[in-house]
């Protein structure tokens, strides 16, 4: 707590200071004693891997989460941020990656949504005033556009400008921006940087979350690095190199009681993806997976990992390229991929992996119905016998196969999702964040299970944001960046630093 003020202080009192902020969710400490100060007119870069606590900190700042512990000081005065209204009163505005604009209203209506100037007839809006006011606000950020334009017709960059104009019209003094350049072109990025310089000159402070090294050094006055919900360090760009920052971001530790037995020689080629592109934003993906291998697929959240998994499984339409599985080209819906022997264990098991209201048994046999009951006649007792076998084999903690699956813990639910593909006899298992929200014990069990699967001749493609897990269990890994494969790491090259380095934007 004592190091609340990083390095030497530029101005005697910070505009906003957070001291010892903690926030816990069931099973995870999202923020752990984080202190953080924003000075007037500075750009404060917030850096960290997926899950380091950036989003949580942002949500605490804007009042969406209330902190479990810690204090807030505004210009040296102790304040409370318990709601979005509190944050707004202090002049804190957040520009999320998903804009909160109403698409079919015009720019002026969006800027003054909920604060429209009243017309003479009760219940009406003073149209002339709202347009004039909007014009003035847009002028202050140098955005020359007709305020009666419908927001739906604007590009991403222009919508972002409207969001900023809206924040400024609410007298925002601290602007929190979450990867604002993620969807912008180079030219648009330049314009945004010019606007940021202008806001800075007006004394507006900017908290800027970024994954691009170039931006961090071009824009930042100060850098705070988070890791595992803790503040690792606060530095000035002039005092560090990109490599040093990467080192600060990685270095997570995880208890892995399960050591993997790496195969000396991978088996035959099982999956070959050639030049795969889809409308979901992935392009020219080339991947090979052999029997007996666990292949990692890493990269930042949003880099297209899940989209690759879904395209291989047939869940998203493929626009170009070829998927060859077990020697044959496949294209079609998930039912075809599943029948051929591909399994997808999706990222959000509750919404995509399970029918929560149905029983453990119903969920375990759902992908294997055709295999278990070739005649088409379903037999509940036989289904339960199969399920009982899987429950024992996977050590699923459930009172019986008839238990509602929604009542199991996260780890046991995940085992049910895996179990349904075991029942189906799948050959390739695509895991999308298989250990998310699962306690450590269950994690090692799941890795042990994956290891056993590949040892028996299956193969696994594993997506994970936990680089340490990838390094621990994978034979090799592909790293994605902005919808493309940015690089491939062999077993020897597979380190957290290499993954982060390939996954970040260095341009």
């Amino acid at each position: 707590m004592s190091d609340a003020l990083p390095i030497e202080v530029t101005s005697p009192t910070p505009l906003l200071e957070l001291r010892g902020i903690s926030k816990e969710f069931p099973g995870v400490k999202a923020l752990d004693d984080v202190s953080f100060a924003v000075f007037p007119g500075e750009v404060h870069m917030l850096l960290g891997e997926n899950g380091a606590g950036k989003s949580s900190l942002m949500k605490v700042l804007c009042g969406a989460y209330s902190a479990d512990a810690g204090e807030f000081y505004y210009k040296g005065q102790k304040v409370a941020i318990g709601s979005a209204a509190d944050a707004q009163k202090l002049g804190i505005a957040v520009i999320f990656q998903e804009f909160s604009l109403v698409p079919h209203l015009d720019i002026a209506q969006n800027i003054f949504l909920g604060r429209e100037p009243k017309g003479r007839i009760p219940g009406t809006i003073d149209r002339r005033k709202i347009l004039a006011d909007a014009k003035r606000v847009l002028g202050t950020i140098g955005f020359d556009i007709d305020p009666s334009t419908i927001v739906d017709k604007l590009g991403v960059a222009q919508q972002q400008m409207v969001e900023i104009a809206k924040a400024i019209s609410q007298n925002a003094r601290i602007l929190v921006m979450d990867e604002p350049t993620a969807a912008l072109s180079d030219r648009e990025t330049e314009l945004l940087f010019a606007l940021i310089a202008r806001l800075k000159a007006d004394g507006v402070s900017i908290v800027y979350i970024s994954h691009r090294m170039a931006e961090v050094f071009a824009l930042g006055d100060r850098i705070t690095v988070l890791r595992d919900g803790r503040r690792i360090d606060g530095v000035r760009p002039a005092d560090v190199t990109p490599d040093q920052l990467v080192r600060m971001m990685v270095g997570r530790t995880v208890d892995m009681t399960y050591p993997r037995n790496f195969a000396d020689k991978p088996g035959e080629l099982l999956l070959e993806v050639k030049g795969l592109s889809s409308s979901t934003g992935i392009s020219d993906i080339n991947i090979e997976v052999r029997r007996g291998e666990i292949v990692g697929l890493c990269g930042l959240v949003g880099s297209g990992r899940s989209e690759v998994a879904r395209a291989i499984f047939g869940a998203d339409p493929v626009s170009a390229g070829e998927i060859i599985f077990d020697g044959k080209t496949i294209s079609g819906e998930p039912d075809l991929a599943a029948r051929r022997g591909i399994a997808l264990i999706p990222e959000s098991r509750k919404s995509e992996g399970l029918a929560l209201l149905r029983s453990v048994s119903d969920n375990l046999v759902v992908s294997a119905l055709r295999k278990l009951f070739p005649s088409g006649l379903f037999d509940q007792r036989s289904a339960q016998r199969t399920s009982d076998g899987l429950i024992r084999q996977l050590r699923i903690a459930t009172p019986s196969a008839r238990q509602t699956v929604g009542l199991l813990s996260g780890g046991n639910q995940q085992k049910v999702v895996i179990g349904k593909w075991l029942a189906a006899g799948s050959k390739l298992f695509i895991f999308d964040e298989p250990t998310r929200g699962i306690d450590i014990g269950a994690k090692s069990e799941i890795f042990a299970l994956i290891d056993r699967l590949v040892a028996e001749g299956a193969a696994a493609l594993m997506i994970s944001s936990e680089q340490v897990e990838i390094c621990h269990v994978c034979d090799r890994a592909y790293v994605m960046r902005e919808g493309r494969i940015a690089g491939h790491l062999t077993r020897n090259e597979l380190t957290e630093e290499n993954i982060v380095r390939l996954g970040m934007h260095h341009a």
Binding site: A338, A355, V366, L377, F378, P399, S400
Partner: protein
């Protein structure tokens, strides 16, 4: 942090499944209504009245059983009544023109099935929400039927054909046999085939069902086609029982069928319910209307009572299920 995996080990509440318990409650409710009516009215327990109740319930059930499958997938088919009307009019015309009841029956079933399939295409290929697709279909079918019939009434069918709706076999009305047959088939299909299992899975979570390798679109096509075909079957029974067909016979059929499904415990959110429950739902609905007739309550009150029963049934259902979760 507590160990979640241990908390989850709760003993199962009952060895009966949730569905079985819900059906059991409904049987109790139906018996209770019977007991009350038996006390209040002397004629309720007469054989003639009981057979009459069963015969009436069967008509609602035929339509509602197919609809149950649709509702199990979290869909709705509002076109069933209009489908019955069109199928009856076309089947009636075929019988009049060809003199062959068999050809008429086949035409009626085919017409119903094709309409259902079209509903399925709109829901799967065009991704129109089922509520809207079948609502539009309702108007289209009404339009076709009114245009086709042009105010005419088809009347008078061969005696053999009329046996289907009004005949008796060993003292029981033939529709009651059909009711038992289709209750059996429907229950077997839903509970004892892999397609039935897949339909429940789709209703419980369509995204997970697709990602579990279930051919969701094909199963939905099947379900809507079955719903349409059952409407086609109902049209034959109607035609045979009324011995006539008019353009407007379908108008009073859809809402009672939906009521039977809901009273029977099938959730509009999908994944929960049974065909047997729908049978009891149709029975409860018919019993109440029958009782009101016997007690000389004005027919004007019937819609109100139906509405209250639907709301009560669904509310009790939600309450008991929530407790079970």
């Amino acid at each position: 942090m507590t160990d979640i995996s241990k908390e989850a080990i709760v003993p199962p509440r009952s060895f009966l499944s949730q569905d079985a318990i819900q059906v059991f409650y409904r049987l109790l409710a139906a018996l209770l209504i019977c007991a009350v009516l038996a006390v209040l009215s002397d004629s309720f327990l007469s054989l003639g009245n009981i057979l009459n109740v069963l015969r009436q319930a069967s008509l609602t059930f035929f339509i509602a059983s197919g609809l149950t499958l649709v509702v199990l997938t979290a869909g709705l088919d509002l076109s069933v009544g209009a489908n019955v009307a069109l199928s009856a009019c076309i089947a009636g015309t075929v019988i009049h023109k060809t003199g062959s009841p068999a050809l008429g029956i086949l035409t009626g079933l085919a017409c119903g099935g094709i309409v259902g399939l079209l509903n399925g295409v709109m829901v799967t290929a065009l991704r129109i929400p089922s509520f809207i697709a079948t609502y539009g279909m309702l108007w289209v079918l009404n339009g076709l039927t009114y245009w086709y019939m042009a105010g005419e009434t088809l009347h008078g069918f061969p005696a053999g054909f009329r046996q289907i709706g009004s005949g008796y076999l060993f003292g029981l009305p033939i529709p009651v046999y059909l009711l038992l047959v289709f209750l059996g088939i429907g229950t077997l299909f839903a509970q004892r085939t892999i397609w039935g299992q897949e339909i429940y899975a789709i209703g419980a979570n369509p995204v997970a069902a697709r990602l579990s390798g279930i051919p969701v679109a094909r199963r939905l096509l099947l379900v809507y086609a079955v719903s349409g075909t059952m409407a086609g079957l109902a049209s034959i029974i109607f035609l045979s029982r009324l011995n006539s067909a008019e353009a407007d016979i379908g108008e009073s059929l859809t809402l009672p069928a939906i009521a039977a499904v809901l009273i029977g415990g099938t959730s509009l959110f999908g994944g929960v319910g049974t065909v047997f429950g729908t049978f009891i739902g149709a029975l409860i609905l018919t019993l109440v209307l029958n009782g009101m007739n016997l007690l000389s309550v004005s027919a004007n009150w019937q819609p109100l009572v139906t509405g209250i029963i639907v709301i009560l049934a669904v509310w009790l259902d939600m309450k008991t299920r929530r407790r079970a979760q």
